[in-house]
Amino acid sequence: MLLAACLTLGGCGEEAMPAQHRLQGADAAAGRRLVIEHDCGVCHVIPGLRGARSHVGPSLAGFGGRGYIAGVLPNTPDNLVRWLLDPPAIAPMTAMPDLGLREQEARHIAAYLTTMR
């Protein structure tokens, strides 16, 4: 109920989100290093990463504020982790492969992506 109320009242900041929906123990700086290590820039434009300029997939600029992931999944931190761990399981027609990320790596990357406003 509280969650639904927060989502409908657009003025809620991250602080108002219930704790279990935040990425506990995830580090956005580690996420940035993982994004470089896993070559996400090969398909996505990523602001602040030199060389990440490909247009195969959507640009990740402003990703934190986007409504849906891949046009199908509501953009919440937990959903983002699910997506990163196995994109084809959620969207069978997607061009984004399963990159073999570990759960903790996906959480760090999700923390990094949610900072992109």
Binding site: H38, D39, C40, V42, C43, R53, S54, H55, V56, P88, A91, P92, M93, T94, A95, M96, P97, L99
Partner: protein, 313 residues
């Protein structure tokens, strides 16, 4: 990163060139400091110093005799070194011949005589055994390129219509990097390659694996990838031994999954980069000869082709 440095040699020619580099650097530094000292002496040393510095004896000694002697010695040393760089290993083991053809913007590597009807063909990676002379026979298919593996030797030009030959040798196993060193077009800066020096037994094992044709797809997803590769027309440019596709315009992909990099040393090699390269080659390396194939493959097909290529180890 010492994989691509003249000052981190991995073979006898590399050692000679590194020594020459240090000799020139040290000699130049000494002469520079001496000239600096003379300038300071002239500026601050008083009339007696200036009288010495401008005397005919000093100018003839420092400005004529010294350079003539030093440069003559250096010339003889360099001529001796140039001769040493072109000599084969004593002992007479015939060299391993590797043919390199430069293209815009990738390297075709052939091992003649290693297959009944020709030889193993790979791209953007030169594997060699240590301790044995390698004879590189190099040419180009389009414009002039140049091959340089700083750890092993000096630059060799790849000239269309002409074959240049260079002997070289690696003494220690390891991975080295080289680059194109003759401007060859829009992506000259992204035309690198790796050199992997193996112990002789490991080299034979590598060559044995490369001799094999591509293995059959292990599951349905990989089989779908193989089929999509054909349907999208990839075989028009690429060869995969063990399949019907024998295209010669682009790199041989028979064992592409076993390579250290994609796109001539530019990208890591896994299903993510394979998919990104196939779908967006023109975004990553604009002006290279491979189009972006996003329009020809739907999402699932792209993932399947990338997974299949990744499996060609």
């Amino acid at each position: 990163m010492n994989a691509q440095s003249v000052l981190a040699p991995a073979g006898p020619d590399g050692d000679l060139l590194a020594q020459l580099s240090w000799l020139l650097f040290a000699g130049g530094a000494i002469i520079f400091l001496a000239v600096l000292a003379f300038i300071l002496a002239a500026a601050l040393g008083g009339e007696a110093a200036r009288r010495t510095l401008r005397s005919r004896r000093f100018i003839l000694a420092g400005g004529v005799a010294f350079p003539v002697v030093v440069l003559s010695v250096l010339l003889l040393h360099t001529l001796g070194l140039a001769r040493a760089l072109s000599l084969p290993l004593p002992g007479g083991t015939p060299p391993l011949i590797i043919q390199v053809t430069g293209h815009q913007f990738w390297w075709e590597i052939r091992y003649p005589g290693t297959l009944p009807d020709g030889g193993v063909v790979t791209a953007n990676e030169i594997h060699i055994p240590t301790g044995r002379d390698i004879l590189l026979e190099v040419t180009a298919s389009d414009v002039i390129h140049s091959l340089w593996i700083p750890a092993l030797h000096g630059k060799i030009d790849l000239i269309p219509g002409h074959v240049n030959r260079r002997l070289l040798r690696a003494d220690r196993p390891g991975v080295m990097r080289g680059q194109c060193t003759e401007y060859c077009g829009a992506q000259h800066a992204l035309m690198a390659f790796y050199v992997v020096a193996h112990r002789p037994e490991e080299f034979e094992a590598w060559l044995g694996r490369q001799r094999l044709p591509a293995e059959a797809p292990r599951d349905e997803f990989l089989a779908m990838g193989r089929e999509a590769f054909g349907a999208a027309g990839c075989g028009g440019c690429h060869t995969v031994r063990g399949t019907p596709w024998q295209g010669r315009l682009g790199p041989d992909l028979t064992h592409v999954g076993s390579r250290l990099s994609l796109a001539a040393g530019v990208l890591d090699n896994h299903r993510g980069t394979l998919a990104g390269w196939i779908a967006g080659a023109q975004d990553l390396k604009p002006g290279n000869r491979m189009p972006s194939f996003a329009a020809a493959l739907d999402g699932a097909e792209l993932r399947a082709v990338a997974a299949w290529l990744e499996s060609l180890k």
